[in-house]
């Protein structure tokens, strides 16, 4: 999409919502250098959210949307859950259809966009909770990876069903007492990152969303690798502060505690050989771009 496409007709400009006017004037569509540092300086692609105060998912949404390398040509697919409360406020086209079918929707969508726009990259990014990704939708999550569908799957792992009120999920820790796990969960947290690697994902990261620069890096890597090579998977810890008995201001600390080297969200990454080559190419190009910019800057000042 060209930014021209969302320009508002002059005669209608004043009757459009202020936040939409702002989106047209100050958003970062088309800016190849966009990233988390735009937050606060440019119009974000998320206007507001209806999550609980202090919910780490809201941070995750802001970092991810600031980091998408190509939002003007990105379509997102969500699923039922807390994330679906946020998507109506997101300024990229996004689809919610059923609970758990997000990777099937994305498979059809990505292929249709490839048929319709053979010469332009159209990125597809799935963002769903752990119930949708690992429980009800596991079949479709894995099958999309087996088929090497070229899109990114992001799982917001809050280790339970939050939107329905805190029930046991497959990504919950063993022993945690929750609704539908009245004597504590009896089996281990499902090891989806490892399963993702074995299922054919070319880039897998398991981490928290405590660091915006890290999220920017993994989102850009995941989207670029998915576009060029094959499926990628990010499992991001976004704790449900409500259901684990924390206060609004304690989400960040919870993530920091959970990413310590011995903890379950210590940073883990897998990159396939073709993906490593691609990342090296992209890094070389970025280095070249920076050197060129530096040269130009030096030329200007001289």
């Amino acid at each position: 999409m060209s930014k021209e496409r969302i320009k508002i007709a002059e005669e209608l400009f004043d009757i459009m919502p202020a936040e939409y006017q702002d989106l047209v004037k100050r958003a970062t569509y088309g800016n190849e250098q966009r990233g988390w540092k735009d937050i606060g300086n440019a119009k974000e692609l998320i206007e507001e959210h209806s999550l609980c105060a202090g919910c780490p998912e809201s941070m995750a949404f802001r970092y991810i949307l600031a980091s998408l390398p190509n939002p003007e040509d990105t379509v997102m697919v969500g699923s039922t859950g807390c994330t679906s409360l946020v998507f109506p406020h997101v300024a990229v086209h996004n689809i919610h259809s059923l609970f758990g079918n997000q990777n099937a929707i994305a498979s059809g969508l990505k292929r249709a966009l490839t048929v319709r726009f053979p010469d332009r990259p159209k990125d597809v990014v799935v963002l769903a909770g752990d119930g949708a990704t690992v429980d009800i939708g596991l079949d479709m999550t894995l099958q999309a990876w087996f088929r090497q569908e070229k899109f990114t799957t992001i799982c917001f792992d809050n280790e339970l069903y939050a939107n329905t009120g805190g029930q046991e999920s497959g990504l919950m820790q063993k022993g945690f007492v929750a609704k539908m796990a009245p004597v504590g969960k009896t089996f281990e947290k499902v090891r989806l990152p490892e399963i993702a690697r074995e299922s054919g994902c070319h880039y897998v990261v398991n981490c928290t969303v405590s660091k915006p620069n890290l999220i920017e890096k993994v989102i850009k890597n995941a989207v670029h690798i998915a576009r060029e090579i094959g499926p990628t998977y990010l499992q991001l810890y976004t704790p449900c502060i409500l259901e684990i008995g924390k206060n609004s201001m304690e989400g960040l600390q919870e993530m920091r505690d959970s990413e310590k080297p011995t903890e379950r969200f210590a940073y883990k990454e897998y990159v396939s050989e073709p993906a490593k080559e691609l990342l090296a190419e992209l890094a070389a190009k970025e280095k070249e771009r920076k050197a060129e910019a530096k040269k130009q800057l030096a030329g200007q000042t001289a």
Binding site: G78, T80, S97, R111, A112, K122
Partner: protein, 403 residues
């Protein structure tokens, strides 16, 4: 139509000419061909300019789904793959349709039931996907044989539901189906049903349109809702935005949208009448006894009508072509003189008889039956026997048959 019209006369990559659909279907020369129903599906899809098909094996649609794969290999379909289950397949179809593709798929029986959650979503999301349903048994004990019970579920989803009698119906309706369901004031999915095996696995003479003519491509920007391709403002757009907002506005929106979906089903009526020459076909509507049927029950009823005519008993026939939209007014008119209305069906519950009962005055005139199910055939003799019983004429007993 502007965008589609601009394609007419151009060639696709297979050398087919994008043609005016009305000319292609109604005026262009036809070639008689001897094909199975499955092969007919392939020939229709070859001319339908489909962007995407998703397939999954289940009897009796597997052959048609595989033949469409051959079309993809030949370059007639943009993309094609095998999904992992019918639930996933119908979601993959939805994803492709959200992304602006013309989508085709096929399913049957238990597959229809497994995928069911998708169908009201398709209708609510206004995705003009075409799904062939080659009906078969869905009950336990497991049966792969013809049985139309699944249609009764599809009728409540907000989809258009048509019931083909013959392979010729199938051929024409696949192509006409896209023309109706893609109209901006309709823009709904179509379940194009037939009775499995009877239509899919038998050979019949079918008049085909020229192989070098095809439908103009789907134009997703004629959709009444934005296409999810980031080419179409507004960009702050979720399909569907009101989910789980618990307030009056969301309830009102949900309620009015459901009504709008069903209003769109009704608005399809005028397009369907034009393309299909009416929602029903009738014979002898002045007779005292009228058979109302859909699918291959129509063929069997036609035989029964002929057999009774030889005995000097005049019977009328109503062929119901579309179940959604429901041709209520047409059926009321066609049966207004009838003293007896016979409704033979290939299912145990008699859903067509229920629909007709809710439609006509004095519904004590309705005789729901004969019913066959679980793969039984419906010889015309049992329809004849049903009619004779209704008329108080002694009929030979048909041991083991319904009626």
């Amino acid at each position: 139509m502007a965008a589609q019209a601009s394609f007419i006369g151009q060639k696709n990559k297979k050398g087919q000419v994008y043609s005016d659909p009305w000319h292609m279907m109604n005026e262009a020369p036809r070639t008689p061909s001897f094909f199975t129903g499955s092969e007919v599906i392939k020939e229709a899809v070859r001319r339908a300019s489909c962007d995407m098909m998703v397939a999954y094996p289940i009897t009796p649609q597997s052959e048609a789904a595989a033949l469409c794969g051959e079309l993809f290999a030949e370059g007639y379909i943009g993309d094609y793959f095998r999904g992992e289950s019918e639930f996933a397949v119908m979601s993959q179809c939805a994803g492709a349709a959200f992304g602006g593709a013309r989508v085709f798929t096929t399913t049957a029986g238990p597959g229809t039931m497994r995928a069911m959650e998708n169908f009201p979503m398709w209708a609510g999301a206004r995705l003009p996907i075409q799904m062939i349903v080659t009906c078969r048994g869905i009950n336990s004990p497991l049966s792969i044989q013809p049985d139309t019970l699944e249609i009764s579920y599809l009728m409540q989803t907000g989809m258009l539901v048509w019931h083909a009698e013959t392979a010729q119906d199938f051929y024409d309706w696949i192509l006409k189906g896209y023309m109706v369901s893609e109209e901006p004031d309709v823009h709904l999915p179509l379940a194009l049903c037939c009775d499995g095996f009877f239509v899919t696995h038998t050979k019949d003479m079918v008049d085909l349109t020229p192989v070098d003519m095809c439908l103009p491509p789907y134009d997703p920007y004629r959709s009444p809702v934005p296409c999810m391709d980031m080419e179409c403002p507004p960009v702050r757009m979720m399909r569907d935005p009101f989910v789980m907002k618990s307030n009056y506005i969301s309830y009102a929106t949900h309620a009015s949208w459901q009504q709008e979906v069903w209003a769109a089903v009704e608005r399809s009526r005028k397009h369907t009448i034009r393309w299909m020459d009416g929602l029903i076909e009738t014979e002898n509507t002045d007779a005292d006894v009228i058979v109302v049927a859909s699918g291959t029950a129509v063929s069997q009823s036609r035989e029964a009508v002929a057999m009774l005519e030889e005995e000097g008993i005049r019977v009328g026939l109503v062929k119901v072509k579309t179940l959604r939209p429901w041709p209520g007014e047409e059926i009321r008119e066609a049966t207004k003189h009838a003293k007896h209305i016979i409704v033979p069906e290939f299912n145990v519950i008699g859903w067509l008889a229920r629909e007709v009962s809710a439609t006509v005055q004095n519904n004590e005139r309705i005789h729901a039956g004969p019913h066959v199910c679980g793969g039984m055939t419906m010889p015309p003799e049992i329809i004849v026997a049903e009619i004779k019983t209704v008329l108080g004429i002694k009929a030979p007993s048909l041991a083991g048959r319904g009626g």
